[in-house]
């Protein structure tokens, strides 16, 4: 039986008003501006854009402010907003070889065209809390140096020169890439759809899965072939003009994970690759994504599927934190009727056991009444 109940509107209104107050916090402190969040909490903004699957720094910063810094709530807000907008088109694939590089490192080659460029990294910091940041002290201007001339060659292109690494994953030319925001998911899915799901997947979930492959659950001997962070052009083909125009640039992080592959009946021993591409500066996410992308190719490469990270349905079905938080958090909503039914069932089962065990046990008292 379903019993509809009403009520709680006053309480809900008051709770939202209280939330607004707590979000603002102490009124004697200046309010955070969107610009401050975008500039000074830029990596939080990047994470929200990546997992909301919506590139817009201002809106992501607004969502972070509105959610009091709860990033999954901010991602949820941005996902909800995107559903209100029409799709105007699809960009040409971004060309990461033409990236305006802000960071580029390789763990496989020391000397490579373009060099190892650290960029703004936490690597090699000592992870000591810096008391000087308690005050608002001045910060030095960055150093400058003449850039190297010439393009920054991809590491995968260097290895490809010797035929030691597989080619980039091709799809049939006439097959449009799948879009999980448009069609319901079906398993097994193509690598194109998996990469879309991973690019918007929860960083913590992908990090844990990537870590599990390193610890032996679907081990695939990874090396960071290359990580590059920087801006790429987004181009849209305009039918009214008959050519593609640039809409501006977005920042992305790309990771090429190089993995050992012993070869198969069809392919000689060579390196295979996992690929990660993420909105914003999100190195941990791009690395985790490339580890999981490679793990999910187990079947394609004739490897045994033994570990959670290799299980496509498990990984892709649980990678989305908006879906996950919705289902987990719904448990706190009223389940009064469901629980009454369970209560009645448990009482009946206990009564039945009591009846078969004989009358000697006496009645059982119930705390839940």
């Amino acid at each position: 039986m379903y019993v509809a109940v009403k009520g709680g509107e006053t309480a809900i209104d008051a709770a939202h008003r209280l939330l607004a107050d707590r979000r603002r916090g102490d009124r004697s402190l200046p309010s955070l501006t969107i610009e401050q969040i975008a500039e000074q909490l830029a990596l939080a903004v990047d994470r929200v854009m990546a997992e909301a699957s919506l590139y817009d720094r201002t809106l992501a910063a607004l969502a972070i402010r509105q959610s009091r810094g709860d990033l999954i709530e901010a991602i949820f807000l941005l996902r909800a907003y995107r559903t209100t907008l029409p799709r105007l088109g699809t960009s040409a694939p971004v060309d990461t070889a033409q990236m305006k590089i802000e960071r580029r490192i390789s763990a496989t080659y020391k000397d490579l065209p373009g060099g190892q460029v650290l960029g703004p990294t936490f690597d090699y910091t000592h992870r000591l809390l810096d008391p000087s940041l308690l005050a608002d002290e001045g910060v030095d201007e960055p150093l400058r140096k003449e850039p190297l001339a010439g393009a920054t060659t991809r590491v995968s292109d260097i290895l490809a020169g010797e035929g030691l690494i597989e080619h980039d994953g091709m799809l049939p030319e006439d097959q449009p890439p799948g879009d999980l925001t448009r069609e319901p998911m079906e398993f097994p899915m193509g690598r194109d759809l998996r990469l879309q799901a991973l690019a918007r997947g929860d960083e913590g979930f992908l990090l844990a899965l990537g870590y599990s492959t390193q610890r032996g659950y679907g081990r695939n001997h990874p090396f960071v072939g290359e990580i590059r962070i920087g801006e790429v052009d987004v181009e849209l083909d305009l039918p009214e003009l008959g050519f593609a125009v640039s809409l501006g640039r977005i920042q992305v992080t790309e990771c090429q994970m190089v993995n050992q592959f012993k070869g198969s009946a069809k392919a000689p021993p060579q390196f295979t690759r996992g690929y990660g591409l993420v909105f914003g500066q999100s190195e941990r996410k791009a690395m985790s994504m490339s580890l999981v992308d490679r793990a999910l190719r187990a079947e394609e490469l004739g490897e045994d599927v033994t570990a959670p990270a290799q299980d496509e349905e498990f990984v892709i079905s649980h990678a989305d934190n908006v879906q996950a938080t919705g289902f987990v958090e719904h448990l706190k909503l009223p389940h009064y009727v469901d629980f009454q039914a369970e209560l009645a069932l448990v009482r009946k089962m206990r009564a039945d056991i009591g009846a078969t065990a004989g009358e000697s046990n006496g009645p059982v008292s119930e705390a839940a009444e």
Binding site: M49, L54, Y55, D56, L85, P86, R87, L88, G89, T90, S91, P93, V94, T96, I101, R103, K110, Q116, V117, G119, P120, P142, L143, R144, K145, E146, P147, L148, S156, D168, G169, M170, L171, P172, P177, G178, D179, T181, R191, D192, L193, L195, Q196, A199, R200, V234, L236, L238, E240, L241, V245, S246, L247, G248, I250, V252, Q256, R273, Y275, F279
Partner: protein, 157 residues
């Protein structure tokens, strides 16, 4: 990037492409300033928008392989018609509608021979110079973090 263009009509698609790309990168302030300084304001009729929507941004598997859908970006576009009958289009990342409207107007003004020099000199050239300076600054700051390896003493061979 900012070489002067011949003012013959009609302009080649490559020049229009460059114009539209620079207009997409122009800030709302830059567009507003160029509009305010424009001596004779044209009659402008809105045709479509300004409106905000999404563009699905694609990447390539492995960096150079088959395309896949990476995620969406907000895009605001506008199309206007000048009193002279010239249509202008603008598409730019973000949600700034005033910027899209002005961008479309300047695209139309750029297509007209009389106003193209103004758009080139007062808007496109400064925007191109700003972008070039920003890129240069970023490249130099990044280059300062490039690792120069030097080999330590290896022991006897």
């Amino acid at each position: 990037m900012s070489e002067p263009l011949p003012t013959s009509s009609p302009p080649p698609p490559e020049a229009r492409r460059r114009t539209l790309s620079l207009l997409a990168r122009a800030s709302a302030d830059e567009l507003r300033a160029a509009w305010d300084a424009l001596p004779a304001k044209p009659e402008v009729k809105p045709v479509r928008g300004p409106e905000t929507g999404l563009v699905m941004v694609r990447g390539r598997i492995g960096g150079g392989g088959g395309p896949f859908n990476l995620g969406e970006a907000t895009v605001t576009r506008a199309t206007v018609l000048l009193g002279s009958g010239t249509a202008g289009h603008a598409h730019a990342l973000g949600t700034d509608k005033a910027k899209a409207r002005l961008g479309a107007i300047f695209d139309a003004l750029w297509q007209e021979e009389q106003t193209r020099p103004y758009v080139e000199s007062r808007l496109l050239a400064p925007v191109a110079a700003r972008i070039e300076a920003e890129d240069r600054k970023l490249a130099e700051e990044t280059a300062a973090t490039r690792v120069d390896f030097f080999t330590m003493v290896r022991g006897d061979d």
